[in-house]
């Protein structure tokens, strides 16, 4: 089960494609998790396999534009993360 999300950010790649990434930490059980990205009006689920207690970067490419909510949730976990992002720009601090 996912134990926490952190560092949700928007990335503009060199080729112009847009990515949203998050760092996800698995608890002691490990296994495959379904992580869902809701990027403004696009919903993109991904499956990721985690080792126990591992922290992985999970990212998806998207075609959403403009500003709005980006939310990441995990199946079978209460953990989530949400930020208001302009996905047309990178969001480095």
């Amino acid at each position: 089960m996912i134990a926490g999300f952190i560092r949700l950010q928007s990335v503009i790649n060199k080729d112009g494609t847009k990515t949203v990434s998050v760092r996800a930490t698995e608890d002691a059980t490990g296994g495959t998790e379904t992580i869902t990205f809701e990027i403004i009006d696009q919903t993109i689920p991904v499956k990721v396999t985690f080792a126990p207690n591992a922290t992985e970067t999970v990212s998806v490419n998207h075609t959403a534009t403009g500003e709005g909510f980006v939310t990441v949730t995990a199946a079978n976990s209460p953990q989530s993360i949400q930020r208001w992002l302009n996905v047309n720009k990178p969001s480095d601090p």
Partner: protein, 524 residues
């Protein structure tokens, strides 16, 4: 033959020097038994009468329940015998120049009456909601209004503030009234205060509710719809900010303009404004041990407001070694993101508040009733009394009228704040020289020894309160004694004689309609 005037002077001297007047028994060789007339100018014989001491005792009682004591001050006229405390209020009548705001606020002075005057203070002296005005706004001008308990009202005209001090002018007030003065300071928000406002906004339940509403309404919608929802949320946030400012005693000079400007500014920074609380939520997750980087317990860390959290991270570099190695960079990124969002949100708020003028109102409601007056009591020089005197030796109770002349100006009420607090001042506020006439007998005496019923009286008066006084002194009269055996006329017939008297009286000029008689038109 003894000189009557000399004996009268002697009597006055004794009254003053003893403090408690001895009975002045004129004696021209007679025993001077009670009820027996004696000739003026004879030897004085103290008989142990303690009338003036009794009067003093009565005054102590008055002092104990005096108005000053009721104010909660240290009781300048209380049981301390009038020595008082330097912190007790003083009537401003003897002090020239403007009245210090802090002195007024701390009830160290009372206001002058009958004359226009100024109040001056520092911008740091004024407190709004427990905070110094200078920490909230940069005051540029002050104005206001005032209202007194007697219905007198006035406006305080706008006065520019160039530095850290301010000055306002008030009009004439009436004596012994209570006044509420409202000061209105106008200026832009202090930059240091904006971060505090932002932090309060983030923690405000109305803001939290608005952001949840935004997330519910906009989530999953196209960007345009989400932006429209964000615009609505920005207006809600603007209302929250306005309410926070108001709770700190600040109101915008133009509320509609501010709401529009603030709504636009927050909307332009909706990302950072929304994300600050999300950042905090992530930082508080125990799995990342961010609290440990500051050496704080999780419970204490979670209590920090947005501003406090930002201050903590900036005051001391977080020790990221406390975070698990594979999350260390993530925790650092999230902290830096939080600081960036906080600064951008604050910048947005600042731009929304920039140029807007706020008015901070401080109300100085000193004197909610007549007992806690802030205007000096009427300063009078003299009083006119009517009362009844008792003469022991004549065994007569006679009506009398007296003019009481004070040793300088005194407050209409003996317990009112005096110009200074000293034992001498306490006594001066109460004592007076008395001169007047004793008129007809009112005790039913059928055989008065006073020729023509009228007699000159003189002495010392001691005020018990605003209206009542005890007077003791001498009564000078020309005698008419009954014919002796064989119709012989007494040899002392037609001579001036003197008796001691004591009696209570009412100060007629203490009555409100007449109180300005013998009084100062203005207190300074």
């Amino acid at each position: 033959m003894p000189d009557p005037l000399r004996s009268a002077a002697t009597a006055v001297f004794l009254l003053i020097s003893l403090g408690a007047a001895s009975v002045y028994a004129a004696n021209d060789g007679q025993a001077g038994a009670p009820g027996t007339a004696v000739e003026s100018g004879a030897t004085a014989q103290p008989t142990g009468t303690t009338a003036p001491k009794g009067a003093a005792g009565a005054t102590d009682t008055t002092g104990a329940k005096g108005t000053t004591g009721a104010k909660g001050s240290t009781g300048a006229t209380g049981g301390t015998g009038g020595t008082g405390s330097t912190s007790a209020p003083v009537c401003k009548s003897t002090v020239s120049g403007a009245i210090a705001y802090l002195d007024l606020k701390n009830q160290k002075v009372t206001l002058p009456y009958g004359t226009a005057f100024a109040i001056t203070g520092g911008t740091a002296d004024v407190q709004l909601g427990g905070r110094a005005l200078s920490t909230l706004i940069t005051p540029q001008a002050v104005n206001g209004d005032y209202g007194a308990s007697d219905g007198v009202t006035g406006a305080i005209v706008d006065s520019p503030i160039g530095g850290t001090t301010w000055n306002v002018n008030l009009g004439k007030l009436t004596p012994d009234s209570s006044v509420t003065i409202n000061f209105h300071f106008t200026g832009p928000l202090a930059s240091s205060y904006v971060n505090s406002v932002l932090s309060q906004m983030m923690a405000d339940p109305a803001f939290t509710s608005a952001t949840k509403e935004l997330a519910t309404v906009a989530h999953g919608k196209p960007a345009a719809d989400q932006m429209a929802a964000a615009a609505v949320m920005s207006q809600s946030a603007a209302s929250v900010v306005t309410a926070i400012l108001k709770s700190n005693g600040l109101v915008p000079k133009s509320p509609d303009d501010l709401k529009t400007a603030l709504g636009t500014a927050i909307f332009n920074k909706i990302g950072p404004v929304y994300n600050v609380n999300q950042d905090i939520d992530t930082l508080q997750k125990p799995i990342y041990h961010v609290a440990d980087t500051l050496g704080l317990a999780a419970a204490d860390f979670n209590k920090l407001s947005a501003q406090e959290l930002a201050d903590k991270f900036r005051a001391k570099a977080p020790d990221y070694s406390k975070v698990q190695a594979d999350s260390r960079a993530d925790a650092q990124w999230q902290v830096e993101q939080f600081l960036k969002d906080f600064d951008e949100a604050a910048g947005g708020l600042t731009s929304g508040l920039q140029g807007a003028l706020f008015t901070g109102s401080a109300s100085l409601a000193v004197g909610s009733d007549q007992a806690t007056d802030v205007v000096c009591d009427l300063q009078k020089y003299a009083g006119f009394d009517a009362g009844a005197l008792y003469s022991f030796r004549l065994s007569e109770l006679r009506s009398f009228f007296l003019v009481h002349i004070y040793f300088g100006s005194v407050s209409a009420r003996p317990g009112a704040p005096p110009p200074k607090h000293t034992a001498g001042e306490w006594l001066r506020q109460r004592t007076s020289l008395a001169f007047g006439m004793a008129l007809s007998d009112i005790s039913g005496s059928s055989n008065s020894k006073i020729s023509g019923q009228n007699a000159f009286v003189y002495g010392l008066g001691f005020r018990l309160n605003k209206y009542f006084r005890i007077t003791a002194g001498g009564l000078l009269y020309r005698t008419t004694l009954p014919a002796g055996a064989g119709g012989a006329t007494s040899p002392v017939n037609g001579r001036l004689r003197q008796e001691f008297f004591i009696g209570p009286s009412i100060d007629i000029t203490g009555l409100s309609a007449l109180q300005s008689i013998f009084a100062k038109a203005k207190s300074n």
